[in-house]
């Protein structure tokens, strides 16, 4: 069973090696002339006038939280979908109840304006 995943592990090694080799080739072939202006963050020609690690909109954070909830939901749906032809109507009703609860939460966040981006 796990043996089927062995090629994946090898592929992971090959892909990692490939990306390291590409970066090394770039570092070796490319010039390496450093200067203060070149190493400064790009800001369309201005000098960077404050730190880039600034406050950001809380909605990005909100999207990330909602994503976790919904992605877990999808992870729950995967095994259900595979065995649906065996569980039949019982499985469908159970999942309908589950999705209904999810949709109630979804409607709540919609009404609360969590999905608004003016």
């Amino acid at each position: 069973m796990l043996a089927e995943y062995f090629p994946v592990l090898i592929f992971l090694g090959v892909a990692t090696g490939l990306s390291i080799v590409l970066l090394l080739v770039g570092a070796i072939l490319g010039p390496n002339k450093s200067s203060d202006d070149k190493m400064a963050p790009y800001e369309c020609g201005f000098e960077a006038f404050e730190d880039a690690r600034m406050k950001f909109d809380v909605r990005y954070y909100l999207v990330a939280i909602l994503f976790i909830i919904f992605d877990l939901e999808i992870a729950f749906l995967f095994p259900w979908a595979v065995v649906l032809d065996k569980t039949g109507m019982v499985g469908l009703i159970a999942m309908t109840i589950f999705l209904t609860i999810l949709v109630i939460g979804f409607i709540y966040e919609w009404k609360k304006g969590a999905l608004e981006w003016e």
């Binding site: 089927e4 062995f6 090629p7 994946v8 090898i10 592929f11 992971l12 090959v14 892909a15 990692t16 490939l18 990306s19 390291i20 590409l22 970066l23 080739v25 770039g26 570092a27 072939l29 490319g30 010039p31 390496n32 190493m39 400064a40 963050p41 790009y42 800001e43 960077a48 730190d51 880039a52 690690r53 600034m54 950001f56 909109d57 990005y60 999207v63 990330a64 994503f67 919904f70 999808i74 749906l77 995967f78 979908a81 595979v82 649906l84 032809d85 039949g88 499985g91 469908l92 999942m95 309908t96 999705l99 999810l102 949709v103 979804f106 919609w110 999905l115 608004e116 981006w117 003016e118």
Partner: protein, 341 residues
């Protein structure tokens, strides 16, 4: 011992047989992109390097590798170098479970689709780490937008995949294709039509391509999360993005358009000829069609506004997919399998 080494060597050969054509495909996709968009805008596009510009991608690669890799002074160096690797590695490794024909697959794992979904989700780390490590305002803003957009469409795409699972009853990509045998009428794009459309549009949004490319909206935040990257480090991002585009197109062909099955399978009069036989050529033709759509979208659609993108993902796609999953599930439970062979 010898047997193990042989097996290992064989796996390595198979991996190279996937990776090298994939990288070549990315190279020629960039050329195709410029030629196709050129033709759509009544220009010629690159045609100087080699016949019809065929050597242009190689010239581009050589030029990119000869450029300096700039590490900005204020950046976090370790994360800055790690980010492009974190974009490219999952984009390549996801190909391990892709079947190109019956039996022609590197790792025949039963959780194939779950594996693909998991790996395409990892790609967002590369984006967000790149934006953070660059310590540049444009990169930071681009990474924020891009990450929020990718995770939003990940949900719509995940639900669309669940629809395919319900119809096919398996996570194994080979079995999903074989479940569509028996002619074009059995392909899943017909019973799952809304999910098919949502899957492909989400795929375009997920890869940050036009018209959903606000993350790199060049007219406002220059190049988004990879603005500070140059040379080989930029090449890694580029390779990852295009490999993902090809992956999305290939998956669309596998899950909805019958994969390597022939569209002429059930046409009377040609049974037994090469036209009706399943072949990797059909899979590649279907993939190219979807890739052409990517280029066509870029040449014709104006860019979406960010609030419109988020509204489409959350308020339109997610409700439609939830409803359609229940509809398909009802079909399966009631055994109204009018699409099954």
């Amino acid at each position: 011992m010898m047997d193990h080494l042989m097996a290992l060597g064989w796996i390595l050969i198979k991996i190279l047989a996937i990776t090298i054509p994939l990288i070549l495909a990315v190279a020629f996709l960039t050329l195709a992109e410029r030629r196709v968009i050129g033709a759509m805008q009544v220009r010629i596009g690159p045609n100087r390097v080699g016949p019809w510009g065929l050597f242009q991608p190689f010239a581009d690669v050589i030029k990119l590798l000869m450029k300096e890799v700039i590490l900005p002074a204020k950046s976090n160096r370790f994360l800055f170098v790690l980010a492009p690797m974190l974009t490219l590695i999952p984009a390549l490794v996801a190909w391990a479970v892709i079947p190109f024909e019956e039996g022609m697959v590197l790792a025949q794992i039963d959780a194939g689709l779950l594996y693909v979904l998991a790996l395409t989700s990892v790609g967002v780390y590369g984006v967000i780490i790149a934006g953070w490590a660059s310590n540049s305002k444009y990169a930071f803003l681009g990474a924020m937008r891009s990450a929020a957009q990718i995770v939003s469409y990940e949900i719509a795409m995940g639900f669309a995949l669940v629809g395919v699972l319900v119809a096919a009853g398996s996570l194994n990509l080979t079995e999903i294709v074989l479940g569509q045998q028996g002619g074009i009428w059995n392909w899943y794009f017909i019973p799952l039509f809304p999910l098919f459309i949502i899957y492909f549009i989400s795929g375009v949004a997920e890869t940050n391509r036009a018209p959903f490319d606000v993350a790199e909206g060049e007219s406002e935040i220059v190049a988004g999360f990879h603005v500070e990257y140059s040379g080989a480090a930029f090449a890694l991002f580029f390779l990852g993005e295009y490999a993902n585009m090809i992956l999305i197109s290939l998956l669309a062909a596998l899950m909805f358009m019958g994969g390597w099955l022939s569209p002429l399978e059930a046409v009377p009069g040609i049974e037994g000829t090469f036209l009706a036989a399943p072949s990797i050529v059909w899979l590649l033709l279907k993939t190219m069609f979807f890739l052409f759509l990517f280029l066509w979208f870029r040449a014709t659609f104006p860019r979406y506004r960010y609030d419109q993108i988020m509204r489409l993902g959350w308020k339109v796609f997610i409700p439609i997919t939830i409803v359609w999953i229940l509809v398909v599930a009802l079909f399966v439970v009631k055994q109204w399998l009018w699409w099954a062979p």
